[in-house]
Symmetry: C2
Subunit: 239 residues, 2 copies
């Protein structure tokens, strides 16, 4: 990966392109952090988990860079219409990608605890599946941003439903499992929080999709985004 | 509360003031939603919880309003220096307040489940205390934004430590409690997620404090914010 400190600014178009490049880089980094965090969990790889924890600072630094560059462009270039909305969207999307990085770091932290604990649980496969979908959503929404493609953004936004549903069923299953084997409660708890983190990453991706919509159309979405996360209302199957 | 659809725009200063007013309104609303959600939990008041769930849409609408107004000011007024940073900060802070509203709604949803479940747990007092601190932090950081007061923003940012520590000790306590009384696992789980939501609200308040810092000084904070949330690494006291 090239160092970002050597960004050289030449023209207005270059500056806008540079903002896009940093967002793309943040997206690639966030998706990789997530993927590594999930692999650290699945393969019980604490070194990889540590790498994710340390790697989060790079995403934070890129967010500051996007913001600084955006303010600079707004001040010196006074962009209009689509260009203006592109700069605003970049700041918003940068914020979402930074949060996604935070969640990946949190998953990596928890994966180390899960690895250290005795016991095993098949639900990790569900988490792996959720992670895979969410990772694809991150890549997809960044392509939608790059191509200013509203339809693609909308398609990504609708995929979040699948993530919510996996989270709901895992939540239910893990609660039951905890009651049956209280000795595995700590393990189950961390898996529940990991699944919740993935569900929140999905929410942030749908937010990014909404920013793409606003950027392209100039209109905010009227409808509430579809929400199928009912885990906050779940009572276990064996109360 | 006055309706916000009748915002009448007169001058550049009016427009900037209007952005500030909407942010202040969002802040008051978010703090009240949080307070009501905690009260719904403590007093087992499902009607109040329902009110919070329905009330979240108002915060979302205000965020869209801030963004639309900010883009308008950027396009038509081309603000410079502090004014420009103020508009950018408003968009960022609006995003954080919207997330805080989401967490309050999630707490309200969970409070209804907790109310419906048998059993009782003293830890609710700790949650009430965390909610009180976080509520004060929201009010405080919005005063810091209003007064462009960096010292106050920094003081608020440091209070997040207390929230993290309460969350850590509650997490530890609840894990132990779950193992001792598996019949109360569902209740305990929801309380853990509520505490986690409060910890995340605290994180968003520190983000807002950082945006105030950037707005006033034009510089982003060099240092990582102090983080004492170690709950992702906690193993129960009785493993």
């Amino acid at each position: 990966m090239e160092k970002r400190t050597d960004h050289i600014v030449k023209s207005y178009d270059d500056e806008l392109d540079q903002i896009d490049h940093i967002i793309a880089e943040m997206g690639v980094l966030a998706a990789r952090q997530l993927e590594d965090a999930i692999q650290a969990l699945v393969k019980e790889d604490t070194a990889l988990a540590q790498k994710v924890v340390l790697g989060d600072a790079a995403i934070d630094a890129l967010e500051n860079e996007v913001d600084a560059l955006a303010v600079r462009v707004l001040a010196l270039r006074q962009p209009m219409a689509l260009d203006l909305r592109r700069v605003v969207a970049a700041m918003k999307i940068g914020g979402s990608l930074e949060r996604i990085g935070d969640y990946a770091r949190n998953i990596a932290n928890r994966s180390q605890v899960v690895t250290a604990l005795p016991g095993e649980y098949g639900g990790i496969r569900v988490i792996e599946r959720m992670g895979g979908i969410v990772g694809e959503m991150i890549h997809g929404v960044l392509e939608a941003y790059r191509d200013a493609n509203v339809e693609r953004a909308e398609a990504i936004r609708l995929r979040d439903e699948a993530v919510d549903q996996l989270n709901n069923s895992l939540f239910r299953e893990l609660l039951t499992y905890m009651m049956e084997t209280p000795s595995n409660i700590t393990l189950s708890m961390h898996l529940l929080f990991i699944a919740k983190n993935l569900e929140r990453i999905g929410d942030h991706v749908t937010n990014v999709a909404e920013h793409v919509h606003v950027m392209v159309t100039g209109e905010s979405l009227e409808s509430e985004r579809p929400k199928s996360d009912h885990s906050s209302q779940i009572i276990s199957e064996k109360p």
